[in-house]
């Protein structure tokens, strides 16, 4: 195995370890953005 492939493998292993260390992939990244609208009112009908 060439030196460059070994380095690539080490990098991928490092990234995999980081990902696992932070839990799995954050699925919220792939969720559509939730829309929020504030509606003002007085406590009176």
């Amino acid at each position: 195995m060439s030196q460059s492939l070994r380095l690539l493998g080490m990098l991928l292993a490092f990234l995999a370890a980081i990902t696992l260390a932070h839990g799995t992939l954050n699925l919220d990244w792939f969720e559509p953005e939730r829309r929020v609208l504030r509606v003002g009112h007085l406590p009176v009908t």
């Binding site: 509606v39 009112h41 007085l42 009176v44 009908t45």
Partner: protein, 324 residues
């Protein structure tokens, strides 16, 4: 009831303590939707810093005229020479007083109209600041339940289908996200139908006491239905609306407002009607509400300038009701 939509949109309540605070935020660009007094919304559309449109009604009736229980006043005619408090100079309650003045032949000198903050009105009546007040609920019912106030008129009896607050959105929001406006309007329509015609299924977030967690922290986001409590939509709504981020009022007061009598306030028939809005506009013009930019043949102002009824055509939004 409108807080979460099936499409994941979140509608958050932002409670204010005064009308100017709401109009300042709209004009400042930090608020894009609000319930406003109908004539005030017209004035904003005519003269405000941020262009707005009325897109739906908030409710009908729900305004009460109150006098002291021990007073001799039995009709508007008896109020000649007295003071009446209204919630805002650009309110439909003020216009209703003008209508009554016309009906009973009062001149401007016959009754003194005072602007007064709605939450302070019951105390103002009790301490003699004025002889009567007219306001949206629950501040009419408050004096009644506390024993010193008596209802002189419900609006349903003197101006049926009275319009108090309307839903206003900025034209900026209409242009940038019309779907969001339609979703909000459909939610209000659906909530109104649930309130007036719904069954006893519980709304999402309402939990019977026997199923509620004991832990206070876990209960904080829930509305706990006490054992034996009425499950009718209006009684659930009273518990929801009593929460701090909505009305922050005693649930029993809101239950009273929503049931005594049942047609004290109505949540259906919320479509914008041109004839009704033009009647309010006519009084607004007569009373000088548009003094900064008077309505003239050269600078006209009409229903299409302050109302946008397009969003009322989309209905059928599902509310998050729990199955029995």
């Amino acid at each position: 009831m409108t807080e979460h939509s099936s499409r994941g949109t979140q509608f958050l309540s932002k409670k204010y303590t005064s009308w100017p605070a709401i109009t300042d935020d709209i004009n400042g660009g930090t608020l894009d939707a609000a319930f406003l007094l109908a004539p005030l919304a017209m004035v904003m559309a005519r003269e405000g810093g941020a262009p707005v449109k009325i897109v739906h009604l908030g409710h009908r009736d729900g305004t009460t005229m109150v006098v002291r229980a021990d007073s001799p006043y039995r009709s508007f005619a008896d109020l000649r020479g007295t003071r009446v408090a209204v919630p805002h100079r650009y309110s439909n309650q003020r216009i209703l007083i003008e209508r009554l003045k016309d009906q009973y032949g009062f001149t401007d000198q016959d009754i003194t109209i005072i602007d007064y903050a709605p939450p302070e009105m019951p105390a103002g009546l009790e301490t003699g600041q004025f002889e009567s007040y007219i306001v949206g609920e629950p501040f009419g019912a408050k004096a009644e339940l506390d024993g010193f106030g008596r209802v002189l008129y419900y609006t349903k009896d003197i101006w049926p289908d009275f319009i108090s607050c309307v839903l206003v959105v900025t034209e900026r929001l209409i242009d940038s996200d019309p779907g969001l406006v339609a979703e909000l309007v459909a939610g209000i329509t659906a909530s109104g139908l649930w309130l007036d015609q719904g069954d006893e299924r519980l709304m999402a977030g309402v939990v019977p006491e026997e199923q509620a967690p004991a832990d206070e922290l876990a209960r904080a986001d829930l509305v706990v239905l006490p054992d034996g409590h009425d499950r009718a939509p209006r009684m659930q709504a009273a518990l929801i609306a009593a929460r701090e981020n909505y009305f922050n009022q005693d649930p029993e007061l809101l239950e009273f407002v929503l049931s005594q009598p049942p047609d004290r306030v109505k949540y259906t028939n919320l479509l914008l009607a041109e004839e009704e809005m033009e009647e309010i506009q006519g009084y607004a013009e007569r009373l000088g509400f548009f003094s900064k930019r008077p309505v003239t043949p050269q600078d006209p102002f009409g229903f299409d300038d302050y109302c946008d009824p397009r969003f009322e055509r989309q209905t059928g939004r599902e509310l998050p009701l729990q199955e029995k």
